[in-house]
Amino acid sequence: MTDSQASGPNNTNRSDPLYVGYMPAPDEHRRAVKRTLILLAAWLSFCAFTLVLTMPSPGEGVWENSNERVWEGFLTNDPYPMLLTPEETLLVVSMGKHGAHDQIDEFANSHVSLRGYELRRQGRRMIEMVPDSITPLGEAPSPQPTLSMLDIEPIDFTGEIIDGKCYLGAMKPGNGFAHRACAVLCLRGGLPAMFAEDDASPDEPLPLLIVDGSTQVPEHVMQYIATRVQMKARRASVGTLPVLIVDSSTIERANDFFGNPKTIVIEQSED
C-alpha cells in the first residue's frame, strides 16, 4: 500500500478510490463485490450439491409415527419387552429414548392388547407403545419364550452395535459416529441393542445383543457404540428374534479412519 502511495507525483491524477461504507461505493469496488458474490454463490451451490450427494443412505427404516395401531398377543419382559403373536415376535419400546421394561412389568406374562406405532427395517418390527395403552385380555395359554442356542463355540462378527429404535427408523440415519451421543443415550435408557453386521443383506433380520448375560449394555462397552467393532459371539434366538450372545472382553475396535484395530483389555468380572 505504502509503495503505491509513495510512487511520487506521477500518480497524482490516477483514479484513487477509497471505499467508505457510508458513502456510495466506487465502481471498482462494486464490480469486485459483484464478482465475489457470483463466485460465492457458485461455491455454496457446489458444496451443497457435493455434500448432499456424498451423504451415505440412511437405509430403509420406517417409523409410522402418525399411524396408531392396535396389537394383540402375549406380553413378556424376558429377556426383552416383547409381544408374541402367532406370526412373529415384536419388540416393545416406550416413547422417547426409554425401554418399556417398567411399563410392561405389571402386565408381563399375560395376554393383552396394546396401542402403538410400528417401526420396521430389515424384517425386524418393533412397537413404540403409547403410554398406559395396555388392556389385559384374560387368561390364555402362555407361550413362554426361551432362549435357544444355535452355536456352541463363538464365531467372529464385524459391524456396529446400534440402538434398535433409532436404527429401525426413529432417527435416520440411526447409526454412525455422528449419532454416537444419541445411541449411547438410547442404550442407557434401556432400548434394545442390536448388531448391524458389515455386508448384511437388507433382508437379513437384525440380531439383538445380549452382552455379558444382560440385555442392558454395560457402561464399559459404551465406548464401542457407533464405531465398527469386531467381536466373538454365539448365535441364539428367542421367539422369531435372532440374538447374539457376546462376552464384552472379545469386543475390539475394527479398522476405521484412524487406522489399525485397537484392542482394549477389559477386566472381566467372574460370575
Binding site: Y19, V20, M23, L51, A181, D256
Partner: protein, 356 residues
C-alpha cells in the same frame, strides 16, 4: 483506552450486507434440505432434524472460512474493503447459525432420554473421542466474541484485550476442525468432505502466511529504512514531499516510535498517528475526503491538522509537529496529546501537481 464509542450507524451498505447474509444462509439451508429430499426419496429419507443439523453445521463452517479469509484478503487488496466493512455482522450471524446447529444436536441427540440433554451430548463414554465437546468449546469462544463484538466492549476492555480475545478465533477454528474430523468425518468412507475441508484450511492458512510474510518483510524494510532521530534537534527527516500523492498519506516508521501517517492536503502536510481510535485501522491507507482523514476500515474521520473527529463526534488522535525544508519532510517524533492543533507545513507544488 477511550471510554466513548459511537453507536452502530445503519446505512445502505450495512443493510445490503446483512440482507445478503440472510439470503445466503436461508438459501443454503433450504437448498440443502430440498436437494436431500430429491436425492434421498422415501423410504431412504434422512430425518429432517438431522438434515437441519447438517445444513446448519456446514453453513456455519463455510461462513467461518469466509470470515477468516476476509481479513488477509483485505490486506492484499483494497477491493476487499466492502467485505471487511461489516464483517462483525457476518461473525454474529455465523455464531447464530452455529448455535442453532448445537441446539438442534442437544435437542434431538441429547433429548428425550434419561440424562440432561446437554450432558448427554457432552459426556462421551470413557475411551471415545469427545468430538461434540470440541464443538462446544469452539461455540463458547465464538459466543464470547459475538457478545463482545460491539464497540462498547472495545472501548471498555481496551484494544489489547479485545484484540487478544478476538485472536482466539484461531483456537476455535482448530477446535472446529477437530470437531468435524474426529466426529462426523471420522468413519466416513467418502473422501470428498475431507478434501473440501482440507481445501478450506489450506486457503485460510496460505492467505495468512502470505499476508504475514508480506508484513514481516514490510516491517523489516521499514526498519532498514527507519528514519533516525537527528541528535541535535530531535526532528527526523522522514521522506520527500514528492513521495506523497494528493489527499493520500505516506506511512513512516521512526525508530522506537509508533508509525506516523503524513497526509498531503491542499499543498500542505499534516502528520498524525497511523492508528485509528476506533479499532486501530491503518489511517495512512485512508484518504482525505471532505477535508478529513478517512479511515479505510469503517470510515471514521479526523481533521488532519488537529486529529479531532468533526462534530458531533468526539474521537481524538495524536498529532505530530511537522515542517518542510526544501522538499524534505521533517517530523518531531514525540506525539502531541490527542486532538492538539499543529500547523500544517505548506510547500510549493510541482506544476503538474496543481489542483484545479
Amino acid at each position: 483506552m477511550s471510554s466513548s464509542y459511537r453507536t452502530v450507524q445503519w446505512n445502505a451498505h450495512k443493510k445490503i450486507y446483512d440482507l445478503t447474509i440472510a439470503l445466503a444462509v436461508t438459501g443454503f439451508i433450504v437448498g440443502f434440505v430440498i436437494l436431500s429430499r430429491i436425492f434421498f426419496p422415501s423410504p431412504e429419507q434422512i430425518s429432517t432434524p438431522i438434515l437441519l443439523i447438517r445444513a446448519c453445521g456446514i453453513c456455519a463452517i463455510l461462513m467461518l472460512h469466509l470470515i477468516l479469509i476476509i481479513g488477509p484478503l483485505a490486506r492484499l487488496t483494497p477491493l476487499a474493503a466492502p467485505l471487511l466493512y461489516n464483517r462483525r455482522h457476518l461473525g454474529v450471524s455465523f455464531f447464530s447459525v452455529a448455535l442453532i446447529h448445537a441446539l438442534l444436536v442437544v435437542g434431538f441427540y441429547g433429548g428425550f432420554g434419561v440424562q440432561n440433554p446437554l450432558l448427554a451430548v457432552l459426556d462421551a463414554p470413557d475411551g471415545s473421542v469427545p468430538f461434540e465437546f470440541f464443538g462446544f468449546l469452539a461455540l463458547i469462544i465464538f459466543g464470547l466474541m459475538a457478545a463482545t463484538s460491539h464497540d462498547f466492549w472495545l472501548a471498555n476492555l481496551g484494544h489489547a484485550w479485545w484484540k487478544a480475545m478476538h485472536m482466539m478465533v484461531y483456537l476455535a477454528y482448530i477446535l472446529v476442525l477437530a470437531h468435524v474430523l474426529f466426529g462426523p468425518l471420522r468413519a466416513d468412507s467418502n473422501v470428498i468432505p475431507i478434501v473440501l475441508i482440507s481445501i478450506g484450511a489450506a486457503v485460510v492458512l496460505s492467505l495468512h502466511i502470505l499476508t504475514g510474510t508480506r508484513e514481516v518483510l514490510r516491517d523489516f524494510r521499514d526498519h532498514a529504512h527507519c528514519a533516525q532521530e537527528n541528535d541535535q534537534s530531535g526532528w527526523v527527516d522522514v521522506c520527500s514531499v514528492d513521495d506523497i500523492p494528493p489527499d493520500r498519506a505516506k506511512i513512516v516508521q521512526i525508530e522506537n516510535h509508533e508509525r506516523v501517517a503524513v497526509f498531503r492536503h491542499n499543498d500542505a502536510l499534516s502528520a498524525i498517528t497511523n492508528i485509528c481510535a476506533h479499532q486501530g485501522g491503518p489511517l495512512g491507507e485512508g484518504k482525505i475526503i471532505d477535508g478529513c482523514v478517512t479511515c479505510p476500515w469503517h470510515g471514521y474521520q479526523y481533521k488532519p491538522e488537529c486529529g479531532q473527529s468533526p462534530p458531533p463526534y468526539t474521537e481524538k488522535i495524536a498529532t505530530y509537529d511537522i515542517r518542510v525544508e526544501g522538499r524534505r519532510v521533517l517530523i518531531n517524533p514525540s506525539p502531541n496529546p490527542p486532538g492538539t492543533h499543529t500547523e500544517p507545513a505548506s510547500f510549493e507544488p510541482w506544476p503538474e501537481d496543481q489542483h484545479d
